[in-house]
Symmetry: C2
Subunit: 134 residues, 2 copies
């Protein structure tokens, strides 16, 4: 069911400093910042050969990463995202096996314009896990 | 400087339960467990199309993930590993720009038999970051 690793998301308190670190110190290819007010984040993509890292900074008052950064102010690993070909089939299989989908259980449109859902981290050993239909 | 994402490592308290979840619920291809006593972990590889997830369970008395699981007993995202072509050149560039290498600063032989080093998570916004020479 799981396809490619679409991305790993890292929450950072200061995107400018993070960009400088990934671009200048680690020598990575880094995108321009992209504000996604409807998702409550500003994102920068660190483009690797086989996948990408998403650096997330809170945007606005109801950012979904605000609570995470309140707990871990220096930042940290926030979630992983796997690709699936049929997100509703994936959801049904997961729910049948006792995994919980966050929210009302219906896919929403994610930051890449594709259907996504998030699985409860307690059902995946503490790792917040996103599925994205591609 | 950064090449491919080699792996994402997730610490889990119970590898048997984690294998069942990733294989049976998420439908992923999962390796047999591999005990690495010299690294203090037992590892299972979740093979994705473009990279892999490493599920880590502590092994022995001085496991490098024991403290992490003591803080976060349900498990969680532990580190990311990027490939580099010349780990000493990477190290020198990092140190020159103020990033700290854990240990004595010299690469060690990692779980895949290749030279590795770890960067201090405080210098990468809370993300423990491994570099592996390939």
């Amino acid at each position: 069911m799981l396809g490619r690793l679409n991305h790993v998301a890292l929450a950072v308190p200061d995107l400018g400093r993070a960009v400088a670190r990934y671009r200048d110190t680690l020598g990575a290819r880094v995108s321009d910042p992209l504000a996604l007010p409807e998702h409550g984040v500003t994102v920068v993509f660190v483009e690797l050969e086989n996948t990408r890292i998403e650096l997330l900074e809170p945007l606005g008052e109801n950012s979904p990463i605000a609570a995470f950064l309140a707990r871990t102010p220096r930042g940290g690993m926030h979630h992983v995202c796997y690709e699936v070909s049929d997100i509703r089939a994936a959801r049904d299989r997961l729910v049948a096996q006792g995994a919980r989908v966050l929210g009302d259980g219906e896919p929403t449109i994610g930051a890449h314009g594709k259907p996504v859902l998030f699985l409860h981290p307690s059902d995946l050993f503490g790792t917040l896990t996103e599925l994205e239909e591609v």
